[in-house]
Every structure is written in structure tokens, then in C-alpha cells.
């Protein structure tokens, strides 16, 4: 339960951090909050030869809304800062609602959204929330920058689109479509555990009273966070009522690919998705203008 030895670098400049990663490649890991990486190192599941500690790179510790309403979250922004931000809770209630389900206050003190996304655990809440919010991720490397959609970032369990010289530097969440309602629900064995199933939904009622926008994303529902596009499409043009929610949930249950865990079989996970989705959709519909 003690980590293997490593070389520790604690740069203060972003450029230094990127140069170190370019130099060490796969042998190096970035360290932000350490709430996923350090346990893995304590178990020696992860044995990076080099740790590039980002905690002193002040430029990565930012959080703020831009003029067009996009929320920019730096790689070093702690969960606690996010969850305490009243403006985040007002403008992106889905994020605030799901944050309360992420582990415990002691973990959120140190843990970062960026680190969580890079860990890419398919059972984790935030990757699914990023799909539902259509977040874009800013990937930097020495002398280069690109953006990818959250939907293109997660490739499999603990696998992402990051190249070996890249860093997830910023998460960009566009404003919610005006008038939309959102909800996050999960079932976990204990408070703060990873979910056996979790659902994140965004809904909007059009001028004719029928659904004109729907997004559904689920965690613990496959090798990556899963979207359910067919289920979401089935809601369009429908009255936001229980029959439509049940029909969408029935489709979503077919779209996901839960892998099972020691806590829940795939069949049980599908069952949970079928129960949680209508509830979440009803809640989001209530909250939609």
C-alpha cells in the first residue's frame, strides 16, 4: 500500500509542465488532485516513473463564465470550488446536482474535474454529465492546442483521446439552451460510492408545448460514459408526459451496454436505467420553463 518510487517535478509554468510531458511521454503522469491516481499508485496498479505535479501551475486553477455564457474550468479547479460557486449552481444546475454525488467532501477538497475526466472511469458521474452538457475539452501539448467534444474524448475504461504528450488543460461547458430543465439521478450501494447506474438528462419544451430538445447520458452503462441518442430522439415532438418518458427509457435500456460489477449484474444495471430514466425525465420536465 505504498507507492513505487518516482521522480517528482513541480513546475510553476504551464510551458514547463508541457515540456516535461513531451520529454518523458508515457513514463510520466500529470498529478492534479490525486484522488484517483494516488490510490492507484498506493495499490501499485499505476507506477509512473515520473510525476508532473500541476498543483503549482497557477494558470490552470481558474473558473469563470465567459461573455457568451461558456463556463471555463481549469484543470486544477477543485470540486469544492465548483460546488460552492452560486453562479455555477444557478446556470448549470445539472453540474451542481451531480457534484453532490461525487465521493465525499474530503475527496472533493482535493479532487479536480479535469483529473476525473482523464481517469475516465466509466462508472464515474462527471464524464456522463459532460456528455449531457456537450462539454468541450481543451488539450494542450508543447506548441499545440486542440479541442475535442466530450463524446470523442472517452475511448474505453480508463482510456482517453489524450496523446502521450498532451494535457487536458481546460473544460469548456456551453450555456444550457434557455428554458431547458435538467436532472441527475443515481443508485449507489453507499453514499459517495460510484453509481451502479446514473442518468443525466437535459430537456426543453418548445413553443408548442412539446419537447424540442433532449439529451440523455448514463454512467456505469458501458465501457465509456454512454449517450442514448435514439431514446433522446424519440422524445422530440412528444408531450413531456410519463408515456413518452417510459418509451424513451425502453429505448435507452437497449442502447446501453452495461458491463456489470461486483455490485450489480448487467441485467440489474439495465433495470436501474429503466427505473431512473423516467424519474429523471419527469424531474427535468418539471424544471423546464
Amino acid at each position: 500500500m505504498k507507492p513505487a518510487a518516482f521522480d517528482w517535478h513541480a513546475p510553476t509554468l504551464l510551458a514547463e509542465a508541457l515540456a516535461l510531458k513531451a520529454g518523458h511521454g508515457e513514463a510520466a503522469r500529470f498529478l492534479a488532485g490525486g484522488q484517483s491516481l494516488v490510490p492507484a499508485m498506493n495499490f501499485r496498479v499505476a507506477q509512473p516513473a515520473v510525476l508532473i505535479d500541476l498543483n503549482r501551475v497557477a494558470v490552470l486553477d481558474h473558473l469563470g463564465f465567459e461573455e457568451d455564457g461558456t463556463l471555463a474550468i481549469g484543470a486544477l479547479c477543485r470540486y469544492r470550488r465548483l460546488e460552492r460557486d452560486a453562479e455555477v449552481a444557478r446556470r448549470l444546475p445539472l453540474l451542481a446536482e451531480a457534484l453532490a454525488e461525487v465521493a465525499h467532501p474530503q475527496i472533493r477538497t482535493r479532487g479536480t474535474l479535469g483529473g476525473n475526466l482523464c481517469h475516465a472511469d466509466p462508472a464515474s458521474e462527471m464524464p456522463a454529465v459532460m456528455l449531457a452538457l456537450e462539454a468541450r475539452l481543451v488539450l494542450r501539448r508543447a506548441g499545440g492546442i486542440r479541442q475535442v467534444a466530450a463524446a470523442e474524448f472517452f475511448l474505453g475504461p480508463l482510456a482517453t483521446a489524450l496523446a502521450e504528450d498532451e494535457m487536458l488543460a481546460e473544460i469548456r461547458i456551453p450555456p444550457l439552451p434557455p428554458g431547458s430543465g435538467t436532472a441527475f439521478l443515481e443508485v449507489a450501494r453507499r453514499r459517495g460510492d460510484y453509481a451502479m447506474m446514473g442518468v443525466a438528462v437535459v430537456l426543453r419544451r418548445g413553443p408548442d408545448g412539446r419537447c424540442d430538445l433532449a439529451r440523455i447520458a448514463l454512467c456505469s452503462a458501458g465501457p465509456t460514459p454512454m449517450a442514448a441518442p435514439r431514446a433522446a430522439a424519440a422524445l422530440l415532438g412528444q408531450a413531456l408526459e410519463p408515456a413518452a418518458f417510459a418509451a424513451a427509457a425502453a429505448l435507452a435500456v437497449q442502447e446501453i451496454a452495461p458491463m456489470g460489477s461486483v455490485q450489480a449484474s448487467p441485467a440489474y444495471q439495465r433495470h436501474l436505467a429503466g427505473v431512473l430514466l423516467p424519474r429523471a425525465l419527469a424531474r427535468a420536465a418539471e424544471r423546464a420553463a
Binding site: A5, G34, I107, R191, G192
Partner: protein
Amino acid sequence: MKITLRVNGTDHVREVEPRLLLSDFLRHEIGLTGTHVGCEHGVCGACTILWDGEPARACLAFAVQAEGHEIRTVESLSPGPGRLDALQQAFQDSHALQCGYCTPGILMTLTAFLAENPHPDEAAVREALSGNLCRCTGYQHIVDAVLRVAAA
């Protein structure tokens, strides 16, 4: 490498390996054995300390990372030799501990919680405790102790 860590208001200078966990620094390098080590992967909460006033797992940070930060451990709670602070006294009065292994982490979690929420309701107390495991008594007497302090 040589580091200086500020723990409970005192600077400690030590030569350490980067891989030394903060929990092991506290216990083995400076002898503050009040910080307990249970699971060493962030689940049990026994090693909870205050990092710049916020509760955090000492087993999920390296000692080298704590340089420049204020670390507080359970040893800092007592106002003087042989004396208990209000929360510790409430734990004793409410029988909120049995073996005591989880207690230091719970006290540090709750110290930060009460600083932010001086008059919590029971549901908030239980939520605050969700990241600390007790395997002896259950949580009822711990909740009682917190509510007793909050009512005082």
C-alpha cells in the same frame, strides 16, 4: 529531498522521498500518530486532516506537496494538556467512540464541517459523515455528539 512542512503551526524540516505519503510523514517523521491509517486508498477517512482548513485525505497526498500549506491534525484540537475541545468533549459525553480508530479522522472532518455550518440539522451531519467509516458503534452517537455541540 529537503522539505519544510507547517503542521499545527510548527515548521518541521525533513529529508524525504517524493513517494512518502503525507499520512506517513505525520506519523513516522514527526511522530504525530493521532492521524490514523486505515485503508490507504481514500475510502475509510481515518487519515483525514485539514489542508488549509479543508478536510482532506492524508493518504492521498505526498508530503512534498504539502510544502507551503497549513496542515492541521487531531493533535491541534486540544486547548491544553489534559483538556478537550468542545467537539471532543461532546464525543466523550455522547459515547461517540468505542475503539477510537476512526475518531481522529471524524473529528477533523467535523471540525471543518462545524466551522462552515455551526448549526446543522441531522441530515447535514449524516451527509458530512458519509466519507468516514466507523466499524464499532455505528453513527448514531456521533451524530448525537455533533448536534449537542451545535445546540450549545
